[in-house]
C-alpha cells in the first residue's frame, strides 16, 4: 500500500473549509479511520467473522463481503444490488466511497467505480487522488486550490443570492399577508353591507306590499281602460328584451364558433402542408383528401356577407329607446282594447327589425296563446300600476345588491381557504407573468395563471397548461456553477394542466419546479415527452430560511 500522495497535504486551508486529515489507509474517511488500526489483522466492518491479514487492505482484491478491505481501490465496486447476482457472499458496502481529502476545498466521497478508471473526476475529487494508480498513464494534478477558490467565490454568490432571495420572500410574505388582511377586511365590510342591505330589502318588501294593497283598493273603484294592451305591451317588451339578449348571446356564440372554425381550418391547412406522407397512412391521406374537397366546396359557396349581416344585427341588438326599436311609452295607457292591434304590431317596428322579428313574433303569438293572453280577451286581470312596478323594481334592485355582495363574500371566503403555498406566499405573486427567450420560442409563466409558448417566427401561441395545484416533488439534480438549478431535495412544484390539445395526444401540461433565486426567472424549459413540459424556475417565493442550513449532498460540488 502506498502512502497518500504528499502533495495532498500541500495547499492552504482557507476560511471555513473544514480540512479533515485521514489517518487510515488510502480512501478511508476520518469517520471510519478507527476500523483501520493496524494490529496485523483486519476485521471486515460489517462481517466481524471475517478476519484478514492487514496486508490485504487495498491490495486491489476484494476479500470482505462488505468491501471494507478495499477503501482505496475499485476491487469491491461490484458489491452492489445493481450487479449481476453471484453465489459469492455479499453485504451492503460498509463504506460510502473513496474518501478524497481535497485539501484546499471540501473533502468528499467518490464512488468506488470511479477509482482508477483513467478519468480525473475533479468535480468530486479535486485533488486527483482517485487516480492514484495512473491507469493508462493518466495523471490527475491536484486542482483543489483553483477549484476551491472558484467554488468559494460561487458559494459566496449563492449565499448572497440566497440571502437576498430570503429577503425578497419575506417581502412577498408581507405583501401576501397584507392582501389577505385586505380580503379579510373586505369580508367584514361585506358582511356589514349585506346585513344593511337585507334590512333594506325587508323595507322594500313592505313598501311593495303597501303599494299593492293601495293599488288593489284603487282597482276596486273601476278597472282601468286599455289595461290589456298595457299588459300586452309589458309582456311584449319583456319578451323582446329576452329575444334581444338571446340574439346577442347567439351572435357571440356564432362568433366563437366562427373563430373555432378558423382555428380548425388553420390547423388543417398546416396539417395538409406538413403531414408526413412517409407513413402512407390511409387514414391520414383520406383526411387530407376530404379536407381538400371541403376547401373546394367552401370556395364555391363563399360565406354570406358577414359585415352586412352584422350591421343588421347591430341594429337589432340596440336597446329600445326613442331612436331605435319600439317606443314602449306610446303603448303604456293605450286605449285600444283590441287584439287586432297585435297584428299591426309590425307597423310599429323599424324596418331592419321587421323582417327578422316576423318569425319571432309568430313565436310570441304562440306563446301568448299558450298563456291564454290572446284567447281570453275579456279576462278581468289587470296590469300593475306604475307605482307597483317601481316598488317591485326597487325591491329587485335591493335584492340584486344583496346577492352580488353575497357572491363577493363567498369568493373572498373561498379565496382564503385556497392553497397559496407556505406562508400564503404566492398570493402576492398571483397574476404576475415573466418569460424566457429559449431560441425558437418565448415561454411565459404567469403565477397561478397559465404557461404559454409563443413562437418567435410567428403563428399562434400555444397554451401549455393552466394552474391547477401546488405540489412537492423530489428532485435529484446537480446545481450548475451559475447556481441556476434545483439541486437535490424536495421542491415546490406547480402543476399546470389542460393546455392546448396535442394532435394525436393529450392536452399539454407543464410541471413548474421552483428553486430559490433572487428574482423570478425561468431557468430551463424542456419538453420531456410529447406535450409534457417541465419548467425549472427560480423565485424568491421558495427561499426558505432553512435552505441555508441544508447540507449538500456528497456528489454536489
Amino acid at each position: 500500500m502506498r502512502k497518500l500522495n504528499t502533495f495532498l497535504l500541500i495547499g492552504t486551508a482557507v476560511g471555513s473549509v473544514i480540512v479533515a486529515e485521514s489517518t487510515g489507509p488510502r480512501g478511508v474517511g476520518p469517520e471510519f479511520a478507527k476500523f483501520y488500526k493496524s494490529d496485523g489483522t483486519f476485521t471486515c466492518i460489517s462481517n466481524p467473522s471475517h478476519h484478514i491479514n492487514f496486508s490485504q487492505i487495498n491490495d486491489d482484491y476484494c476479500d470482505c463481503p462488505d468491501g471494507s478491505d478495499e477503501p482505496g481501490t475499485s476491487a469491491c465496486a461490484h458489491l452492489s444490488a445493481l450487479s449481476p447476482s453471484s453465489p459469492e457472499e455479499r453485504s451492503p458496502l460498509a463504506l460510502p466511497g473513496f474518501y478524497c481529502n481535497n485539501k484546499g476545498h471540501r473533502p468528499g466521497y467518490i464512488p468506488f467505480t470511479y477509482v482508477n478508471d483513467g478519468v480525473c473526476d475533479y468535480d468530486l475529487c479535486c485533488d486527483g487522488s482517485d487516480e492514484w494508480e495512473s491507469a493508462g498513464g493518466i495523471v490527475c494534478e491536484n486542482k483543489c486550490k483553483e477549484i476551491g477558490k472558484e467554488w468559494r467565490k460561487q458559494d459566496e454568490q449563492r449565499k448572497k443570492a440566497l440571502r437576498s432571495g430570503q429577503k425578497a420572500r419575506k417581502e412577498l410574505v408581507r405583501q401576501s399577508s397584507r392582501l389577505r388582511k385586505e380580503i379579510e377586511d373586505g369580508i367584514g365590510v361585506l358582511q356589514i353591507e349585506i346585513r344593511t342591505l337585507e334590512l333594506k330589502v325587508g323595507d322594500q318588501e313592505r313598501q311593495l306590499a303597501d303599494v299593492e294593497r293601495s293599488e288593489k283598493a284603487r282597482l276596486v273603484k273601476g278597472p282601468a281602460k286599455g289595461g290589456r294592451i298595457s299588459v300586452l305591451a309589458n309582456l311584449a317588451k319583456g319578451r323582446i328584451e329576452e329575444l334581444r339578449t338571446a340574439l346577442i348571446d347567439v351572435r357571440s356564440q356564432r362568433d366563437t364558433a366562427l373563430e373555432r372554425v378558423q382555428e380548425l381550418e388553420a390547423i388543417l391547412y398546416k396539417f395538409q402542408e406538413e403531414y408526413n406522407p412517409n407513413f402512407n397512412d390511409e387514414g391520414v391521406k383520406r383526411a387530407v383528401r376530404s379536407w381538400e374537397e371541403f376547401v373546394v366546396r367552401k370556395n364555391a359557396n363563399p360565406d354570406v356577407d358577414r359585415a352586412a349581416q352584422d350591421r343588421d344585427l347591430d341594429e337589432i341588438s340596440k336597446p329600445d329607446d326613442k331612436e331605435n326599436g319600439i317606443r314602449w311609452e306610446e303603448w303604456e295607457g293605450e286605449e285600444l282594447g283590441d287584439t287586432d292591434v297585435l297584428y299591426k304590431f309590425e307597423e310599429y317596428l323599424p324596418k331592419p327589425l321587421r323582417t327578422w322579428i316576423d318569425n319571432k313574433l309568430r313565436d310570441l303569438r304562440v306563446f301568448m296563446v299558450q298563456n291564454g293572453l290572446l284567447a281570453d280577451a275579456h279576462h278581468s286581470s289587470t296590469s300593475d300600476s306604475k307605482a307597483v312596478t317601481q316598488a317591485r323594481e326597487a325591491l329587485d334592485a335591493a335584492r340584486n345588491d344583496v346577492n352580488s355582495r353575497k357572491s363577493q363574500l363567498t369568493n373572498h371566503q373561498e379565496d382564503l381557504t385556497k392553497d397559496y403555498g407556505v406562508d400564503d406566499v404566492f398570493r402576492a405573486l398571483k397574476g404576475q407573468c415573466f418569460s424566457k427567450d429559449s431560441g425558437e420560442y418565448i415561454y411565459e409563466l404567469c403565477w397561478l395563471g397559465g404557461v404559454t409558448q409563443k413562437p418567435k417566427k410567428g403563428g399562434a401561441n400555444t397554451g401549455l397548461g393552466n394552474f391547477v395545484s401546488i405540489d412537492k416533488i423530489f428532485v435529484d439534480d446537480e446545481i450548475p456553477s451559475d447556481g441556476k438549478g434545483l439541486g437535490s431535495g424536495d421542491h415546490v412544484a406547480l402543476r399546470y394542466e389542460g393546455g392546448n390539445h396535442c394532435w394525436n395526444g393529450p392536452s399539454r401540461s407543464t410541471l413548474v419546479v421552483l428553486g430559490c433565486a433572487e428574482k423570478d426567472e425561468i431557468w430551463k424549459v424542456m419538453e420531456q415527452e410529447k406535450c409534457v413540459y417541465r419548467m425549472e424556475v427560480g423565485t424568491p417565493a421558495v427561499c426558505d430560511s432553512a435552505d441555508e442550513e441544508k447540507p449538500r449532498g456528497k456528489d454536489e460540488l
Partner: protein
C-alpha cells in the same frame, strides 16, 4: 396501434414477374413428367479450362425453332464453392432496342458482384472433368480432395452438386429455370383474329410484360419482361434458413399455402415498411439472398447474387426421393424457387459440410464482419429525439447518478437545422462541442443520423454541390430525381458513382462539418431508399443510377452503397486521424457486414415483437451479418415496465444493443422506470458489460471466420435434430453460454433445451443441470435464464464502470466451467478497440486450457507472429492482470487445495485457493485468489 398497410406493398400476384414465374411453376407441376423445359445446353459449346466450364444454353422460343442464346459459365473456386452464371447474348452485345427512348443500359446487370464480393474468387487449379460421365451430362470434380462433384445435364439443362457421392443441391430438377429473353413489343392487330397457337405462347400472359402500375405509379419497363428464375432443391434437407430480412421463424416456412404456411413467397425488396407485423414473409428493410439448408450432420448453402426485387418460394416435399439424387433416402426435401425481376443469373453453391464451413466460405466471398469499435458492442442509448444539448447532457448525468453504464448517446433527425444533414439546429444544438466534451470525459460517444435524401432548399451547400457536381440519382428521363422524405422535397445521393463517394467523404471532414469530432459516429437510416411519395415508399424502378443502370437492377444494393460510402468517409476525417468507423444501417445487402451494424428497423413495444427479434438476429447471423440488434423497448408505442425490463434482459444478448423510442412515446430511460425495474435493468446492463471480453472475442471470430455471434443450436450441435428449428435460445460465440431470455408476458419459468450430456450450470447461482432434454428454470422478473456449458472458459471484467472505455485497464476474471472430464478451454481476443493497429499485431489473443490430468491452467498465445506494433501494445497492457479465477463444478480433490503455484515468464509465486462446497443443487466451486498473471503473458497455474 394500427398494423402494417398491406395495400402499400405488392403481393406476388401484383408483381408481374413473380406472378408469371409462379404461373410457370404451376404449369410445370401440372404437366408433371410431360413437362419439357425449353432450355438445353449445347454439348458442342462446352469447354472446360482452368477450373471453369463454359457453354451456351439454347432457349427454344416459338415453333419455328428459334433459339435464344444464353452463355453459361460454371466456375469452380479454390474454396470449394461453385459459381453458376447465365447471361443473355443479345443483351451482352447490346443488340436490343429499348422502349420510350430509354437511356438505360442494354446489358443484364453485371456489377452486383463488385458490391457484394470482395474475395474468394481464386479459381481451383485441381478441378477436373470426371472422365466417367454418362452421355448427356458433364461431370466436374472439385473442392477439397476433389470430393465435390458438379453434374451438368444438357437437356433439359439442370445441375446437381454432390458431396461424398451424395446429391446435396439440385438446380432445375423441377424445370423452372426461366430467363425471360428480350423481345420487341408487338402491337396486336385486332383484325387478325385468333393469335396463332403455339405451345409456349399459349401459356404466356403478356398482360404484365410492359408498363406496370401500382398504387398510382407506372413503371415504364423499357426492356419489357426480363426476369430470371431457378428452382433449387435440397434433397433430404428438411430445414432451410437465412434470406433475411423477414419477421419470421429461423427455420423457414413453406410459402404455397397449407396449414401454418404462408401463401406468399418470401420477398426481398428493401422497403421502409411502416409498423411491420411479425410472422410474415413480407419484405423488410434489407436483403441477403443467401440460404442455408441443414440436415443431420450436413449443411449446404446457396447465394443468389442479384440486386433486383426477388421472391423465394419454399415448399417441402415428403415424397420418395428424386431418382436423380444419389444416395438420398426417402426424407423431406426442401424445394425452393428463386425469382428476380432482372439481372444475370448468378448463383454460388456451398457444400459445407458444417454450418461453420458454409459461413466461412460465404464470408470469404462477401467479406467478414468488420471488427467493430469496442464501444459499439456496449450499450447505446437512443431516442427520437434528445431535444437539445442540455437534454443530452442531462441524460448523460442521470445515467451516472443511477450508476447505470452506457457508452453512446444518439441523435435522431431533429438535431439538424430543418432536416439538412451536416448542420446543427442553431437553437437546440448550437453548441455541439460542449456536449461532446462532456461525453468524451467518460469515454462516451455520440452518434448522429445522416440519411441519403438531401433537402432541396436554396442556399444549402450540400444540395448545391450535389446538383452542381451531378451526383444524384436520376429519373427515367435522365434528369435529377426529386422525391419526398423527412425534409420534404429532396434528392438522393447516388453512391454507385465513385465521384459521389469521394464527395461524400469530403462532407464528413471536420473542417466541412463544424461541430463534429472524432468521438462522433454515424447512423444511416432511410437508405432502402425510403421515398415517401414513391411506389412502395421507395424509388421508381425506371430511375437511373451511375452508368445508366436502372434502379430496378440495383434496388437492393443501394442501401449498401450508401452505408459503404459513409463507412469510408469515417475512416479518415482528418489527415492522420485514422480510426475504425461505426455506422449503423437500416437497409442492407450481402456484404453490408463489412461496413457496420444493422438493426431490425421500426418494431413495436409488444411482446410478440420482443419474441420476434431473436429469430431475426439469428437469421442475420447465419447470413454473414451478425452485428445485428432490435430496438430495445420497441420503437412504436409505450412498453409496460415488465416488457421493457424483459427487453433489456434480451437486449443484453443482442450483438447490437440499443434502446430506442419513437418521438410520440413517453421517455423510458432505465433510470425513469422506478424500482425494482431500474435495478433489474441495471443488472442486465452490467451483465453485458461484465461479459464484454467474451462478446469482443466472439466479434473477433466473426471478423476472421464469419462465425455468427449468436449461434443457433444447429451450428453448435449439427447432429441434434431436436435443436434444428430452435430459435428462442442460442449460444453466445464459442463461450458455451446458452441463453434463453424471457420474451413472453408473465412468465415465471422457462423450459430450456439442453442438447447433450454435458454439465450445464446456471450463470448466476451455479445450479447444475445435466442430461439432454428440456429443463425448467425459474425465471422471475429479475432472472435471465442463462447457462454455462461445461468445458468452457469465459473471460470477464467484473468491475462496474460508467462506460466500456473506462474498463480498458481493469483486471480480468476467468470463469472455468469444467466438463465431465474435468477439462475446459476458452479464448480471449483483446486490442485497443478503436484503431487499426491490430492489423500490425497490436492485440492479445490467448487460449486458456484447464486440464484435469495436470491440474493446471495454461495461457497460450494464439497470435501467430508478432507484428510491428505487438511489443508496444503488450507493454501498454502489462499491468492488466487476471484478478480472479473461478472454477465451477469442481470435484472432491479441490477440498483440500489451499495454494496454487504460478509460473509466469520464469517467475514463480503462490496464490491462495478457496473451496466452496456444493449446496442445494448448486455445484461446488473454487476461487484462485489474485493470481496476478498478466493477461498478455504466457503462464501456467498449477494446483497441488
Amino acid at each position: 396501434m394500427t398494423m402494417v398497410k398491406h395495400g402499400n406493398f405488392k403481393t406476388c400476384a401484383q408483381s408481374g414477374f413473380c406472378a408469371r414465374n409462379r404461373a410457370y411453376a404451376d404449369l410445370a407441376t401440372s404437366q408433371a413428367s410431360s413437362w419439357n423445359p425449353p432450355y438445353s445446353l449445347a454439348p458442342e459449346s462446352i469447354v472446360f479450362k482452368n477450373g471453369q466450364l463454359e457453354g451456351t444454353i439454347l432457349k427454344r422460343v416459338g415453333v419455328g425453332g428459334e433459339m435464344v442464346r444464353l452463355p453459361l459459365v460454371v466456375t469452380f473456386l479454390e474454396s470449394g464453392t461453385a459459381r453458376v452464371t447465365i447471361d443473355e447474348e443479345k443483351r451482352q452485345k447490346g443488340d436490343i432496342e429499348l422502349r420510350h427512348g430509354s437511356k438505360a443500359r442494354k446489358e443484364r446487370y453485371n456489377e452486383a458482384a463488385s458490391w457484394a464480393i470482395v474475395g474468394g474468387l481464386e479459381v481451383s487449379v485441381t478441378a477436373a472433368v470426371n472422365k466417367q460421365t454418362e452421355k448427356g451430362a458433364t461431370r466436374v470434380l472439385y473442392g477439397p480432395s476433389n470430393k465435390f462433384e458438379a453434374v451438368i445435364r444438357h437437356h433439359p439443362f439442370s445441375m446437381e452438386f454432390n458431396r461424398d457421392g451424395q446429391t446435396q443441391v439440385m438446380f432445375g430438377d423441377r424445370g423452372l429455370l426461366n430467363m425471360e429473353h428480350w423481345r420487341p413489343k408487338i402491337e396486336k392487330k385486332e383484325v387478325e383474329g385468333e393469335e396463332k397457337a403455339d405451345d409456349t405462347k399459349a401459356t404466356e400472359d403478356e398482360g404484365t410484360w410492359w408498363e406496370e402500375s401500382f398504387g398510382g405509379n407506372t413503371d415504364s419497363k423499357p426492356r419489357g419482361p426480363e426476369s430470371v428464375a431457378l428452382d433449387i432443391s435440397f434433397p433430404g434437407y428438411e430445414h432451410v434458413f437465412g434470406i433475411p430480412e423477414h419477421a419470421t421463424s429461423l427455420s423457414l416456412k413453406e410459402t404455397r399455402g397449407g396449414s401454418g404456411n404462408y401463401e406468399e413467397p418470401y420477398r426481398l425488396y428493401n422497403a421502409d415498411v411502416f409498423e411491420y407485423e411479425v410472422n410474415s414473409p413480407m419484405t423488410l428493410y434489407g436483403s441477403i439472398p443467401f440460404m442455408q439448408a441443414h440436415r443431420k450432420d450436413s449443411t449446404v448453402g446457396v447465394f443468389w447474387l442479384n440486386g433486383a426485387e426477388t421472391w423465394i418460394d419454399v415448399v417441402k416435399s415428403r415424397s420418395s426421393p428424386n431418382p436423380l439424387a444419389l444416395g438420398v433416402e426417402a426424407a423431406v426435401t426442401t424445394q425452393t424457387h428463386w425469382i428476380s425481376e432482372s439481372g444475370q443469373l448468378d448463383v454460388f453453391v456451398f457444400l459445407g459440410p458444417s454450418p461453420m464451413d458454409v459461413s466461412k466460405a460465404y464470408g470469404e466471398l462477401t467479406g467478414y464482419t468488420q471488427l467493430p469499435q469496442h464501444f459499439a458492442i456496449a450499450y447505446h442509448q437512443c431516442r427520437w429525439n434528445y431535444v437539445s444539448v442540455e437534454d443530452v447532457k442531462d441524460v448523460d448525468r442521470k445515467f451516472d447518478k443511477h450508476k447505470i453504464p452506457y457508452d453512446i448517446i444518439w441523435l435522431d433527425i431533429e438535431y439538424t437545422d430543418g432536416k439538412k444533414y451536416f448542420t446543427w439546429d442553431p437553437l437546440t444544438f448550437g453548441d455541439p462541442l460542449s456536449m461532446q466534451k462532456q461525453l468524451t470525459k467518460n469515454e462516451r460517444k455520440l452518434v448522429a443520423i445522416i440519411d441519403p435524401h438531401i433537402k432541396n432548399e436554396g442556399g444549402y451547400r450540400v444540395v448545391d454541390e450535389l446538383k452542381s457536381k451531378d451526383l444524384a440519382v436520376k429519373n427515367k428521363e435522365g434528369n435529377i430525381f426529386e422525391g419526398w422524405c423527412w425534409p420534404g422535397s429532396s434528392y438522393w445521393v447516388d453512391c454507385f458513382n465513385p465521384a459521389a463517394r469521394e464527395w461524400w467523404k469530403s462532407l464528413f471532414r471536420y473542417d466541412n462539418w463544424k461541430g463534429a469530432t472524432s468521438n462522433m459516429f454515424i447512423w444511416n437510416d432511410m437508405n432502402e431508399p425510403s421515398v415517401f411519395n414513391g411506389p412502395e415508399t421507395t424509388m421508381p424502378k425506371d430511375n437511373l443510377h451511375h452508368g445508366n443502370w436502372e434502379h430496378r437492377d440495383v434496388h437492393n444494393i443501394y442501401g449498401l452503397t450508401y452505408h459503404n460510402a459513409t463507412h469510408h468517409a469515417l475512416i479518415e476525417r482528418k489527415k492522420g486521424e485514422v480510426q475504425r468507423p461505426f455506422v449503423l444501417t437500416r437497409a442492407f445487402f450481402a456484404g453490408s457486414q463489412r461496413v457496420g451494424a444493422m438493426w431490425t428497423g421500426d418494431n413495436e413495444a409488444k411482446w410478440e415483437h420482443l419474441a420476434q427479434a431473436f429469430p431475426m438476429i439469428l437469421a442475420n447471423g447465419i447470413a454473414g451479418y451478425p452485428f445485428a440488434g432490435a430496438d430495445v423497448g420497441g420503437f412504436f408505442g409505450n412498453p409496460e415496465k415488465d416488457l421493457l425490463t424483459r427487453w433489456y434482459q434480451a437486449g443484453a444478448f443482442y450483438p447490437f444493443f440499443r434502446g430506442h423510442a419513437h418521438i410520440d412515446t413517453r421517455r423510458r430511460e432505465p433510470y425513469l422506470m422506478g424500482e425494482p425495474y431500474t435495478s433489474i435493468v441495471t443488472q442486465a446492463l452490467r451483465l453485458r458489460y461484465q461479459l464484454l471480453p467474451a462478446w469482443y472475442t466472439a466479434f473477433h471470430e466473426a471478423s476472421v471466420m464469419g462465425a455468427p455471434i449468436l449461434r443457433p443450436h444447429y451450428y453448435e450441435f449439427p447432429g441434434d435434430e431436436r435443436g434444428f428449428a430452435l430459435d428462442d435460445q442460442f449460444f453466445v460465440g464459442s463461450t458455451g453460454l446458452l441463453a434463453k431470455p424471457v420474451v413472453t408476458e408473465g412468465a415465471d419459468k422457462v423450459d430450456i433445451y439442453i442438447p447433450d450430456e454435458e454439465n450445464y450450470y446456471d450463470y448466476f447461482d451455479y445450479t447444475k443441470y445435466s442430461g439432454a432434454g428440456t429443463k425448467s428454470i425459474r425465471a422471475p422478473l429479475e432472472k435471465i435464464p442463462l447457462l454455462m456449458r461445461g468445458g468452457h472458459i469465459i473471460p470477464r471484467r467484473d468491475r462496474p464502470r460508467r462506460s466500456s472505455g473506462l474498463m480498458k485497464w481493469d483486471p480480468f476474471t476467468l470463469v472455468i466451467v469444467l466438463n465431465k472430464a474435468g477439462n475446459a478451454e476458452g479464448t480471449l481476443y483483446l486490442d485497443d478497440g478503436e484503431s487499426f493497429d491490430y492489423q500490425a499485431g497490436a492485440f492479445i489473443h490467448r487460449r486458456f486450457v484447464f486440464s484435469q490430468t495436470s491440474s493446471s491452467l495454461v495461457s497460450e498465445n494464439l497470435a501467430e507472429a508478432a507484428g510491428a506494433k505487438t511489443a508496444a501494445y503488450l507493454k501498454k497492457m502489462k499491468k492488466v492482470r487476471v484478478e480472479k479465477i473461478i472454477i465451477i463444478g469442481v470435484g472432491g480433490e479441490w477440498v483440500g487445495r489451499r495454494v496454487a503455484s504460478i509460473d509466469e515468464e520464469g517467475k514463480q509465486r503462490k496464490a491462495k485457493v478457496a473451496y466452496h462446497r456444493s449446496a442445494g443443487g448448486k455445484t461446488a466451486w473454487a476461487v484462485i485468489r489474485d493470481p496476478g498473471v498478466a493477461i498478455g503473458n504466457s503462464w501456467k497455474i498449477e494446483l497441488a
